[in-house]
Symmetry: C3
Subunit: 140 residues, 3 copies
């Protein structure tokens, strides 16, 4: 078994759901060395997350953003964590709903995703700035 690990920095993106599959694959050519294995992508932030969803129609990403805003609204009367702006506490909640990592099987040197699957960066802040990922892969 082999183990690879690398830290990469993503450029800032606007609030919303963003497809980053090619970015991860390009930053991590180590993937190609594994016949069978696992890829783990971890985001080192608490107001952004990672998920897997449809890689084709951009309206899926639009609707996810709209519905997450509906399900986790800003300015709820019971929020106490409000000093960093009205988008901050909802961002923390959304981050726990999607999670901080995705793990994907590797087969024959590639992520073994379904035809329509891609990795999303879920940016929940209005101005989240650059985001750091720790990417790990292992297998043989």
């Amino acid at each position: 078994m082999t183990f690879f690990q690398k830290t990469i920095k993503l450029p800032p993106v606007p609030r919303g759901f963003h497809l980053i599959t090619p970015l991860v694959a390009d930053a991590f050519p180590e993937l190609k060395a594994l016949k069978q294995g696992m890829l783990h992508v971890f985001i080192q932030h608490t107001s952004a997350g990672l998920t897997i969803n449809e890689n084709a129609d951009p309206t899926v990403r639009h609707d996810l953003e709209r519905h997450f805003n509906h399900m986790v609204p800003e300015n709820q009367p019971y929020y106490k964590h409000t000093t960093e702006g009205s988008d901050d506490m909802p961002a923390h909640i959304k981050a726990s709903l999607v999670g901080s990592s995705v793990s994907i099987p590797i087969t024959n040197g590639r992520m073994n995703l379904g035809t329509w699957q891609g990795i999303y960066l879920c940016e929940h802040r209005d101005h989240g700035g650059p985001r750091t990922l720790v990417i790990s892969a292992f297998g043989h």
Copy 2:
């Protein structure tokens, strides 16, 4: 360390939450070879997901389905991704809420689940068809 990987196809099920623990265990006898390890189950779809929840009382599965429909309703006025039917966009959102994979420790050749835990296939489409899982396990 050893690494096993296999793709299996699940038969179509109706929309809802379905217990699939025995199905995964039976399809993957390689588990028994590992004294300590990890099992990773990954679904290659974006309108269905996987989660771990109660393996006994079927009303838990019923109530999960009802509440997910309440939390992520069909026909929201802001949905733009509507051409594949009113159950499609909610299915994408629900898939990101539960996630595309579960990972479970392996101890003495078995999934080391709690007494009441089982693996659920979360089928969010009305007619999702067969679903493909990629199962990986590693350890020693």
Copy 3:
């Protein structure tokens, strides 16, 4: 590659989100043996979960608890799983929303978390009692 695994029991905590990072690190000194690897923390229960969120301001934990109660209320008219108390079915739903495990990269003998990240025990029952975690780590 090396593989470590250990079961630990957490003392009972009140309903809410609780920071347990030091508890996990202290219970699992095996971490220090790994230069590069993965940590997997798994909870063997279906009415409690694990997530990663902000480790500093306790109002984040407060607001998460308040918003989860808003998003998954008790006593919904469609709940059928009601015999174990009004906090039980919401606890199952919340457990699937946050998930049963977190996985974190290990770098130079430590969890490679972001500055503000910590592991939360999400206790969704009023009186959940002690909770059992299975902790696994592997790498080289």
